[in-house]
């Protein structure tokens, strides 16, 4: 027996010392206020336990005191990177429950804005994921494009982030003249300039590949069992997208592909997001071609007192944003349950972090892309 072998055996006999390392709640890599209590054995994580609720403000209780239409600005604050998608989810549920008709043109505008918001959100995820990896430059590139997109948003909605744009029975205002050209220009630039740049800058980099390929693998079975949503589900090889499989609004009129990747690692999830931006651009182009003229706001009943309950969902950038509404024939909602995709996605963290290096947990959080406005609600 060599000396090294003897030492190893002795160490095993004694047992390794466990170290408890606390990440967060204020930590630049956690994308918000997430605290993770990790137990380390050497460099490996044996247990990771997320502690959430630091941003909890009980959205669901607050809106019980508000009228149906007053809730819309607050839904923006749930997933603050996918505001239009959130508004759309809520408004769609109320419209279904109360039987409100929506004009054609408004539906198209909603789809265009939702898809633009998906692109904005994925651009940010591109940047933050690179920063989690230690590359600061791509972060600035991602943010620059996102800011330009927010300029485009501001021209329509009047705000950069908290749009409060979607209304019951339509949208707040029509698109300004010449806006569609600006969007199409942006999309052309995104497809021909920006995303190829991202490939050169980050994605083809050997360090990026080494740190993301085969790391943090999530199997198909686990992804379904945990109720993972959006790019995380599709990155694990499950061909599921609400926009195609259970079409809401007018998504059945567009021709687009659902991006899936079989590997289930960080790279797969990241690439699903990158490719989804191009698919979103496709949808926006088709929507502009098909969009009819007409009013953008229908008739809302003066007394809005829907009764009954409904679960309705839309596909946001992070997955299925579901709203469960109960109306008791009053002008206020009786119960609003917000099914936040990040909440389900983050619950996979203990499983994925187990056995990883401690440096990789930061990437795992980055690739799950939780938004704490909606995790904590």
């Amino acid at each position: 027996m060599s000396e090294i072998e003897a030492r190893r055996l002795k160490a095993e006999e004694v047992g390794h010392e466990k170290l408890i390392l606390n990440l967060g709640p204020q930590h630049p890599s956690t994308h918000g206020v997430l605290r993770v209590i990790t137990t380390l054995e050497g460099e490996r994580i044996t247990e990771a336990e997320p502690d959430i609720g630091f941003l909890h403000r009980n959205f669901e209780k607050i809106v019980e005191g508000w009228t149906w239409s007053q809730v819309i600005p607050l839904t923006d604050r749930n997933d603050y990177l996918a505001n239009i998608n959130n508004e759309h989810a809520y408004v769609l549920a109320v419209e279904k429950l109360a039987g409100i008709e929506v004009p054609e043109r408004a539906e198209y505008i909603r789809v265009i804005m939702s898809e633009l918001n998906r692109i904005a959100s994925h651009l940010l995820t591109f940047g933050t994921f690179a920063m989690d990896m230690g590359a600061f430059t791509p972060f600035l590139y991602g943010f620059r494009e996102r800011e330009l997109l927010y300029d485009i948003f501001e021209k329509v909605t009047g705000a950069r982030m908290m749009h409060n744009y979607v209304r019951l029975s339509g949208v707040r205002n029509d698109l300004p003249d010449g806006w569609d050209k600006e969007v199409l220009e942006f999309l052309d630039r995104l497809e021909n300039d920006v995303i190829p740049d991202y490939y050169d800058l980050l994605i083809k980099n050997p360090i990026f590949e080494a740190r993301s390929l085969g790391v943090g693998v999530l199997t198909k079975e686990d992804a379904i069992a945990y109720g993972a949503a959006g790019p995380i589900l599709r990155g694990s090889g499950i061909d599921w997208d609400l926009r195609r499989d259970m079409p809401y609004s007018i998504y059945d009129r567009f021709d687009f592909e659902v991006i899936t990747r079989e590997e289930g690692d960080h790279y797969a999830r990241f690439m699903v997001r990158m490719d989804e931006m191009i698919e979103s651009a496709k949808i926006i182009r088709q929507a502009f071609e098909q969009m009819p003229e007409g009013p953008v706001m229908g008739k809302v009943p003066r007394v809005l007192k829907p009764e009954g309950d409904i679960y309705s969902a839309v596909e946001g950038p992070r997955g299925e944003i579901g709203v469960y509404l109960v109306g008791d024939g009053n002008f206020k909602p009786y119960r609003v349950k917000w099914r936040a995709p990040s909440f389900s996605n983050l619950s996979i963290l203990p499983l994925m972090a187990k056995g990883q290096f401690v440096a990789d947990i930061v990437l795992t959080i980055g690739t799950l892309d939780p938004i704490f406005g909606e995790v904590d609600r």
Binding site: P73, E154, K155, G158, A159, R167, D177, K204
Partner: protein, 161 residues
Amino acid sequence: MLGGVLGNVYNATKSLIKGHLVTLKELRTPKITVHYPDERLELPLGSRGMPALKVNQDTGLLNCTACGVCARECPVDAIEVEAVVGEKGRKKRYPAIYNLDMTHCMQCNLCVEACPFDALEMSDAFEISRYDLDDLIFDKEQLAEIWKTHKAVRITGGEKL
């Protein structure tokens, strides 16, 4: 072994050069950063800052009739309105008090949509930080002043910008 190392070095150098070429390309593109207090972006029409009270240009009086619909519609109770009380305790159609609490306001445009009298507009005044919390409660004169000094737009639903 050596080939592997050399291959790695080659790959790393290649990707490094590629990355730097992207950065170099940016030398030719126009600058996007705006140095805010010195330079300013032109805000698009309809950019939402804080609400402002519209003034009738002929009479110099507010359009507001103190009906209180905006205060009721506000989700965060940021608006307080009281009508002028005239003789015999009758309420007149003019606000005595119109306070807007900018510590609560989230600039959501719902009050403008609710207003039936063309009295409220969203201005593009966004520089509303103050040293004192009390200064963030705007009264009717200040709100009218904001309307006069800033671009304001009224969107009530469905129109074209």
